[in-house]
């Protein structure tokens, strides 16, 4: 039942304005695949091309071997969940969910049974006969999910479905969606700009920027082994340090700290690089980059420090259980060579690590 989605050299243009030049990706059967990127990167455009609401100017999109480029949306058998829920306001919960089944000429008793089952699954059976006008965002989103699931679609598409919900509800809906998707095993494409959400929910993530896919990988690899500087910096807060590279030896400019990286595979013999250090990668030690704590913010489980150094302010987060530094205190920041990544300073800012994605 699950299909493979093949995107082959897809192109999208509005007149002369090319949004996606040449994009290819393969989404595996039953996979939860996330398109992640900043707004305007073309992720929603791509999703809408798959749904059939955007025309495709070049290349092919295939469900298994079937090219769907010119198939109208209503013949693609897709379940789609929208950012603003798109609940039909003139129909009750039940009628909203039954809509797709009625279009498929499903008759009672099967119709009622399937509607009841899916409402049960998304836990809104008690709202079945209510009109959607006074429901909360979370409830409406559950209707939208049920409505998309009930037709047994070949593909499920989510267009930033959680961005209008509050933080707590977002986490709750996130696991509901993940849970239901795994049960049903439907190939799913999920669009979001929230990297935490993407990491939590996906089998694989495609990070997009300016209409191009930067990297497709599992969440851990995306986070730990970014392929280029864009992916590294998009996945959460980072410190970027200018470094000089000599084979596998790296020297941080100005402060003169030297590190040896076994993981560097510098095929192009790059001299200038950018080292990306996440705030929680820094370690307080008795050697490394010298600096002074100028700000401390306590978040509960973590504490964030701003450390003033010769190469600018660096952001450091440490676990609450660790001994806290005081403002004005002299510190040394050490860098764990096994986790940080270094990228070319010029061009496409590709990673020079041998284990990069």
């Amino acid at each position: 039942m699950s299909v493979t989605i093949n995107i082959e050299h897809a192109k999208k243009a509005y007149g002369k304005n090319v949004v996606i030049e040449n994009l290819s990706a393969q989404i595996r059967p039953g996979e939860f695949f996330t398109l992640l990127g900043p707004s305007g990167c073309g992720k929603t455009t791509l999703l809408r091309m798959i749904a059939g609401f955007n025309t495709i100017e070049g290349g092919e999109i295939k469900f298994d071997e079937k090219v769907i480029n010119n198939l109208p949306p209503h013949k693609r058998n897709i379940g789609m969940v929208f950012q603003n829920y798109a609940i039909f306001p003139h129909m009750s919960t039940k009628d909203n969910v039954a809509f797709g089944l009625k279009e498929r000429k499903v008759k009672d008793p099967e119709l009622s049974k399937r509607v009841a089952d899916v409402l049960e699954q998304v836990q809104i059976s008690d709202l079945a006969d209510r009109m959607p006008s006074n429901m909360s965002g979370g409830q409406q989103q559950r209707i939208a999910l049920a409505r998309a699931m009930v037709i047994n679609p070949d593909v499920l598409l989510f267009d930033e479905p959680l961005s209008n919900l509050d933080a707590k509800l977002r986490v709750e809906m996130r696991s509901t969606i993940r849970h239901i998707q795994q049960q049903a095993g439907i190939t799913t494409i999920y669009v979001t700009h929230d990297q935490e959400e993407a990491l939590a929910i996906s089998d694989r993530i495609a990070v997009m920027n300016k209409g191009e896919i930067q990297q497709i990988d599992e969440p851990v690899k995306i986070y730990r082994k970014p392929r280029n500087l864009f992916v590294a910096t998009f996945m959460g807060q980072t410190n970027i340090l200018d470094v000089q590279i000599e084979n596998q030896d790296v020297m941080i400019e100005k402060v003169g700290c030297k590190y040896h990286f076994d993981r560097i595979k510098n095929v192009n013999n790059i001299k200038a690089g950018k080292m990306v250090v996440r705030p929680n990668d820094f370690v307080f030690a008795d050697h490394g980059i010298k600096g002074e704590v100028t700000e401390r913010i306590f978040f509960g489980t973590i504490t964030t420090y701003t450390v003033k150094t010769e190469i600018g302010d660096l952001v450091v987060t440490r676990d609450v259980n660790e001994h806290m530094k005081e403002i004005g205190e002299q510190v040394y920041l050490d860098i764990p060579v096994e986790v940080v990544n270094i990228f070319e300073a010029d061009g496409k800012n590709m990673s020079i690590m041998e284990d990069a994605g």
């Binding site: 059939g52 603003n84 409505r147």
Partner: protein, 551 residues
Amino acid sequence: MRRKYTRDHVTWNLLALSSFSIFIFFFLFPLFRLIIGAIWTGNGFNLEPFKRFFATKYYMQAVVNSFKVSTVTTIISIITGTTFAMIMRYFKIKGKKFIDIMLLVSTITPPFLGGYSWILLFGRVGWATKFFNNLFGITLPGIYGFWGIVFTFVCHSTTTMYMYISGALKNVDSTLNEAAENLGCFGLRRIVKIILPLILPTVLSTALLTFMHCFADYGTSSLIGEGYNVMGTLIYTAFLGEVSRDATMASAMASITLIFTSLLFMLQRWIGSRRVVEMNSLHPIEQTKPKGIIAVVSHFYIYLMTALAALPIFVVAYNSFQKASGFLFLPGYSLNSYKLAFQRLGDAIQRTYAYGLVAIVIIIIIAVIISYANIRHSSPLTKTADTLTMFPLVVPGTVLGIAMVLAFNGAPFYLNGTAALVISVWVIRRLPYTIRSTTGVLHNISTSVEEASQSLGANPFRTFTRVVFPMLFSGLLPGALLSFISSITELSSTLMVYNFKTATMSILIYTEICKGNFGVASAMSTILLVSAVLVLGILFKVSKGNYEFTL
């Protein structure tokens, strides 16, 4: 630029084209014929009627009079209407619901009926006139002439102004007010600097409508004017009058009026396009309880204006139960007027309703097609249709009526006096309102709802019938019902195109007034109003009081 047109896009543009063609045929074509007819005699240009028009003092006086009446009325109405709307919006007024109902009923009362009931009150033999004359032993001249016309129009226009401006004020977010106050701008200054600019586009559009209605109105001016000639009365007399019929002159005058109103229309569009204020109110303005002298003044003003607007209805209703003989009301009560009224109305009642119903169905279909095509499948064609269908707003009923008659009177149409022509006049006159309100509703329907429907397997046609139209319909119904009422009470253009077989209720009422049968006219008017109120009842029921007026 390469752009891929989908099949939907083409379908909707074709639908829009066919609807627009109907509009062109029944509106632009007659207007074109009208202007051509005024300057072309068949074998050459003839500007003689125009020359005569501009050279004759009699005609020029009418132009001046029309300007005077319209300008004075518009200025007064802007002030009275805006004040009214502001008070109603900002203050809790006792009996607001009742006031709203009275005002709504008064707006559906045809203006000529207002004029007529003012005659019953303040006319030569009116109650009030007689009362004062007996009291002081004097002979008051009555309400006739310039100020009589202005007074009647202001009473009627204030409520129209109020309804539209109140709709715009509803969209002013209260946080704007709070922000202004927070920045040190409050009281009257805040109204002038924040509120007025926000509602200005609506005020201007409504003012223009008021101006147009006065400028070429026929009914009121002919009843109350009494020799105070305005364009409307002159056009009508030249076209249908018994003594001074002069069709070329009528076309010439209608053309001049048309050109003038077109200029105003363009001016309004221009102002409108320069001042686009997008408002979306999440926090409507909270109403406060007025205090002290402000409370007294506000209540007095609101009650007075409501009374002035609604009084005609009561006068008419009361009169209908009085014994009457010609234009004299005798002491005592009887149902005789009603007996006569029903006799003379005959099947005009069913006829009026049937025409209204057909008109409103056509209006809804055309309005939905044109506005949906323009919003979802916009193209130069739909944009043109959207703009030009606003034009009837400013074309006076008299002018439209004459244009229709001239265009469809002879071969190959022979439509004059037919139901088809009466209905198409109504459709054309009310179409702009329905297109506006439909466009407003459509703007609030998110495209993703339609996409959801399509992705669930409904093809574009089924998506439209099962999702879009039901969502549209509830928003469209209040406006449609109002259009229905305005259609069945329409006089000035129906008067031009009807014949005895297609006479509607308002025509018969007007005829009775002209004959001086005030009793019968009152009874007929009451019947018309009661039926209109019934429709209003439905309106309140379906909209749960949430009807809104937008322009």
